[in-house]
Amino acid sequence: MTMKRLLAASAVTAVAGLAASASQAQDLTLCWAAWDPANALVELSKDFEAQSGITMNFEFVPWPNFADRMLNELNSGGQLCDLLIGDSQWIGGGAENGHYIKLNDFFDANAISMDDFAPATVYAYSTWPKGTPNYYALPAMGDANGWFYRKDWFARPEIQEAFKAEYGRDLAEPKTQRELMEIAKFFQGREIDGQTVYGASIFTERGSEGITMGATGALYAWGFKYENTPGSYDMEGAVNSPAAVEALEFYKELYQCCTPPGYDNAYMEQSLDAFKSGQVAMAMNWFAFFPGLYADPNTGGDKIDFFVNPGQNVEASTLGGQGISVVSYSDNVDGALEYIKWFAQPDVQAKWWSMGGYSCHRSVLEDPDFVNSAPFAGDFLEAMAGVQDFWQEPAYAELLLAMQERLHNYIVADQGTAQEALDGLIADWTETFEDEGKL
């Protein structure tokens, strides 16, 4: 009798175990950075759970550790993520190292057309080699680096008057990088409502990608190019062109003249904090944060407005944003593909935008009402029309860290000249491309 009971208990346990593992196989884990749009995606995904019966789990990692954590996960063949919304620069490594599943056949079989998505986002988030019709991700979250400012301060008559007296023009959203610096200088150290305020909060972070993402906002505006001819890795004269040197000197001056004290290692969070605490007149950050900023009870609403990264020689913005990929090590690839199929639908994309995500679907972006759907929607469209991205090579991390080091040394640590920094950067990148066998 005892033996029979034991056998029965073992059988029940085994069945329960198998059932649990079968149900786990139905679960999906989506990995992304921990930020506002991720929370919106959790809400949006509830519709998918209801329709498919698949339970969604989420793994969100704070931005400063996101690349480190997720690239380690991919490189070790980890099965944590079934779906990964990875940075655009990871696409080369994801494709060449076999981390991401190629989606062309799946798209064809399910009538998902890349023509339905904004071309710039398809190029940046989905293709490898760049520009070829080889898709490793579906454009999920359009993004670019933009600016926001204290509209209520700008509107004050005494401030308007003082600015006009100093610069001979009205205080308004800057149209060029030079105008931006003038405004930043004007506000730096000014007393407003009994508090000392500062000009602008910009990216200066050393550890991950911050200072590169910030400084490229100026570099691209001056016409910076990575190569003389795309795909040639011919960098001499492009990376260290006179315009690039001028842009880098500009960014250093902006850091030195117009940022709050102690903002020598600042990225997204610090920029948001500086603005929300009323310390700065202007701040740079990713469009992804703009819905949250607009909704902020203290500094949002009527007190805030947004503008696209000002041009100088050309109109250009630093690309952010990500595509959603299926991780090849997943044990639920079918479920992950089902999620992508669901996410690609126009009505889901429309809801995604309404909840705070930046859809890349043309049905959303080309809707006549889109521009007026949010105070930053028009700026977003304008920014996405001129976005430029960092290298998307498999050696992206190495290329990025070299730039981080060179820029931080020059801008924050005040070592050497802009010319030396960019010449050194070419030397670093050349070494990397030689190791890669591309030079």
Binding site: D68, G207, P260, G262, D264, N265, A397, E405, V412, A413
Partner: protein
């Protein structure tokens, strides 16, 4: 007289088995006991070390499993040893190592000497002093980041109070000149209690009768300090220096939290740079060579130091 359990077990053991057991020498039994430890040591320490040495002669990258691995000879070592940036990192590490040890020994010994006197509240003060070393380095790093913040940090206000220099006019972690000292201060704050405890153990190990004999010989307090206290505490002090030296040579967490190696590369210690090369840039072969160079350096220095320590003990 009843038989003991051992005798009964021995009697019950079949003859062939007992013969086999009797046949094992002491050395064989010793090996049986030591073998698991040796196996673990080989698997966890020696094999990875040999593997790392092997990788250091290749261009292997752990994130490119489908790329062909090439034998590059001494190229990785040559690149590291001729890289100005790495020598700058070594200088930053040496600066950090030297000043943290000097300050921790001076302050730690002084505190131990003061605490060693009998006074009311001695135990409570000792407990309060050792609190910093009980905290996590990540917590200490975050905590001091706030203390160093130019606008709200206490440190800048204290400096302003004593010197008149405006609090928000300088940044301890953002200045090339100040940042190397900022990390020295935090490490000293955290680890001086450790040195103090070791010194305290040394001070308390000195028998009272030696001082009593010195008193009878009318030796002054100053002379007692230099001829009794310092020589007898010296082995302990040297041990503390060894521990702190090895720890700080591989310092990572605290400095990453405080400065991340910046501004620029001012506080980029060798261990932080090594981690970047190995797990952010994924230059596995190159970083293996880097690790071997650091290992040989710290092993060589530690060996020389241990020999000196043994000589001091023998005196």
């Amino acid at each position: 007289m009843t038989e003991s359990p051992i005798t009964r077990v021995a009697r019950a053991t079949p003859e062939p088995v007992s013969r086999r057991v009797r046949g094992l020498s002491d050395r064989a039994i010793a090996w049986i006991f030591v073998a698991p430890t040796i196996f673990l040591l080989l698997a966890i320490n020696i094999f990875p070390l040999i593997w790392t040495i092997r990788l250091s002669f290749t261009n292997y990258r752990a994130n490119r499993l489908n790329r062909e691995v090439e034998w590059v000879g001494l190229r990785n070592y040559e690149r590291i040893l001729t890289d100005d940036g790495i020598w700058m990192n070594m200088q930053a590490t040496a600066h950090f190592l030297f000043w943290t040890i000097v300050l921790q020994v001076l302050i730690g010994f002084t505190l131990a000497w003061l605490i060693n006197r009998k006074f009311r509240g001695n135990d409570l003060i000792t407990t309060i002093i050792v609190l910093p070393m009980m905290l996590s380095p990540a917590v200490v790093g975050n905590f001091w980041t706030f203390l160093y913040q130019p606008q709200i940090g206490l440190v800048n206000y204290v400096v302003e109070f004593f010197t008149g220099i405006p609090a928000n006019s300088f940044s301890m972690l953002g200045s090339v000149t100040l940042a190397p000292w900022a990390i020295v201060i935090v490490d000293t704050w955290m680890w001086t209690p450790f040195v103090m405890l070791i010194c305290l153990a040394g001070l308390r190990s000195i028998p009272d009768y030696i001082y009593e004999a010195a008193e009878i010989d009318r030796a002054s307090k100053w002379r007692q300090f230099w001829t009794i206290t310092v020589p007898m505490v010296l082995p302990f002090l040297m041990l503390a220096v060894l521990f702190r030296g090895i720890e700080n040579f591989k310092m990572f967490d605290l400095v990453v939290q405080l400065t991340g190696g910046g501004p620029g590369n001012t506080t980029l210690l060798a261990s932080i740079d090594l981690k970047r090369e190995a797990f952010e840039k994924w230059r596995t072969g190159y970083s293996s060579a880097y690790a071997i160079i650091l290992f040989v350096t710290v092993f060589g220095l530690a060996s020389i130091y241990v020999k000196a320590l043994n000589k001091v003990k023998e005196r």
